[in-house]
């Protein structure tokens, strides 16, 4: 048991080398002063002062012990603190990743919307170049009416023309008939004359 604890002790001593040097020395000094004080004959005032000095050294050692304990507690609490901060940051990272993915999807959506808007704009430009539909309809109606009127007029004129044609036809045919009748009458007259003269000469 002695050798194991010795190794432990040596290792611990080497580890806490920096700060431990002062404390180690103090404890050794205290032990030496204690043994010297126990064995020294000296006057009561000297031994009393030495006793006080030893108490002081002891108090110093206790003080440094208390300090180290507090530092240890503080370190433990710091570790916990860092642990919570670490997990916090991890959570933030994952949520940021998710947000990035969301935003990427949003961008895609927005780009599609933008593309559609641009297509509408392009079409709208072309449509604007053509005249308004109402106006064109009105123009069409007006033209239709004109067309109707003109066709009415045409019908009337046609009817008149037909009538005139028929009347002229009647007139012309009557004239021709009259001519025929007159010619026939003339022919009859000349025939009668011819018949009379040969019969007259024959007598």
């Amino acid at each position: 048991m002695g050798s194991v604890t010795d190794d432990e002790v040596i290792r611990k001593r080497l580890l806490i080398d920096g700060d431990g040097a002062g404390d180690d020395r103090r404890i050794n000094l205290l032990l030496k002063t204690f043994t010297k004080w126990c064995n020294s004959p000296g006057t009561p005032e000297e031994s009393f002062t030495q006793y006080q000095r030893m108490l002081g050294t002891l108090a110093q050692c206790e003080f440094s012990l208390g300090k180290t304990l507090m530092v240890y507690d503080m370190n433990l609490r710091e570790m916990e603190n860092y642990g919570t901060i670490y997990s916090n940051i991890e959570q933030n990272i994952t949520s940021a990743h998710e947000k990035i993915a969301e935003c990427k999807k949003e961008i895609q959506r927005a780009k599609r919307v933008r593309k559609n808007r641009q297509e509408y704009d392009a079409l709208a430009k072309v449509i604007q170049n053509h005249p308004n539909r109402h106006e064109t309809l009105k123009q069409l109606e007006a033209l239709d009416k004109e067309l109707q009127q003109l066709s009415n007029i045409k019908e009337n004129v046609d009817a008149k023309l037909e009538l005139r044609k028929k009347q002229f036809h009647v007139l012309l045919s009557t004239i021709q008939e009259l001519q025929q009748t007159l010619e026939n009458d003339e022919k009859l007259d000349t025939d009668e004359n011819n018949q009379q003269s040969p019969s007259g000469s024959a007598e």
């Binding site: 895609q108 780009k111 933008r114 593309k115 641009q118 297509e119 704009d121 392009a122 079409l123 072309v126």
Partner: protein, 323 residues
């Protein structure tokens, strides 16, 4: 490959693998190079990570088009189309799964294929090329099932309007034709250069850039890059970009356009040019976005240079892969 060849190299086409971890690029020497995106994008990469893991000769002529579909890489350029299996290519086993050639009318030369696009709706591939026609290859049966005739000059670019099942083709004769895949008839024909606000007579009337997202169409080339509303067939916005555009694509709420000039232009649908990002090649032929993989979402740009620029964020060039 000597330094002179490298200097004269142009990369015409790119395609990402179905897993999204590899990029295939085709150049004017008929080679296809496979780059590993994992190696190139990893933080501790070196120069070797930016080089191809495999380079092989695929065609006799330039590889103008590359597309990935159904685990295969389709490449076309000199009049025929070849299919390569991606899994085999990743294992560095170079062997074409099949090669087909559309039926061309008897002529002395074999016309090149300028554009190739997949129509996933009916599992077919649409080709447009030097013979002024658009050919459809049915992937299930491996036969060319229809031909759309109507253009009077060669076809530069194609696009598929998935919702309506229509194919759009832009050609040197300045017309964008919309074909119905089932009836093989030309449903609409738009002559872009006849519209005052799009036309740029100093450049010509050819259409080299065509893309659609079923409601809207972007087309450009000789005329300025313009956004069209397909249902009314009217141009709604014209983009004031100085060069002739070769590729454009809709990306989120913007339009990315590349062509003449060493820049990728970011434009808004209203017609404003928001930004012009500088790149390595002097003229850019191809622009691809990797939508197959979540962690390698990059934009790659290639053109008249042996470097393929990689953008991890569309606003700036991250690094370049080298052929």
């Amino acid at each position: 490959m000597g330094p002179v060849e490298l200097l004269h190299m142009s990369v015409f086409s790119q395609s990402f693998s179905p897993c999204g971890r590899f990029l295939a690029a085709g150049n004017n020497y008929g080679e296809i190079a496979i780059f590993s995106l994992c190696a190139a994008l990893s933080p501790d990469t070196s120069e070797a990570g930016r080089k191809p893991v495999l380079t092989f000769s695929a065609h006799d002529g330039p590889v103008f088009c590359l597309e990935s579909f159904g685990g295969h890489l389709l490449s076309a350029g000199d009049g025929s189309v070849s299919a390569w299996n991606w899994a085999e290519l990743i294992k560095k086993n170079v062997k074409a799964v099949w090669t087909r050639r559309p039926e061309y009318k008897a002529s002395m030369e074999i016309p090149e294929i300028n554009a190739m696009v997949i129509n996933p709706r009916d599992n077919s591939v649409v080709f447009g090329g030097g013979d002024n026609n658009v050919h459809i290859l049915d992937l299930e049966h491996g036969v060319f099932k229809s031909v759309f005739r109507g253009h009077t000059d060669y076809v530069h670019c194609l696009s598929v309007r998935e919702r309506e099942g229509e194919v759009l083709s832009g050609s040197e004769d300045g017309a964008v034709r919309i074909w119905d895949t089932r009836t093989s008839q030309c449903v609409h024909c738009v002559e872009v250069h006849k519209y005052q606000k799009c036309a740029r007579p100093q450049f010509g009337k050819w259409i080299s850039c065509l893309t659609t997202d079923s409601d809207w169409m972007l087309c450009g080339g000789g005329p300025s890059l313009s956004l069209w509303h397909l249902r009314s067939l009217t141009p709604t916005s014209v983009f004031a970009l100085s060069g002739c555009q070769r590729r454009a694509t809709f990306y989120q709420d913007m339009i990315l356009a590349v062509g003449q000039g060493p820049t990728v232009s970011h434009c808004l649908l209203g017609g404003q040019v928001k930004a012009q990002i500088p790149c390595t090649p002097n003229n850019i032929n191809s622009l691809e976005l990797n939508t197959n993989s979540a962690e390698h979402q990059v934009l790659t740009v290639a053109g008249s240079s042996q470097f393929v620029d990689v953008f991890t964020n569309v606003s700036y060039r991250a690094f370049s892969l080298c052929f």
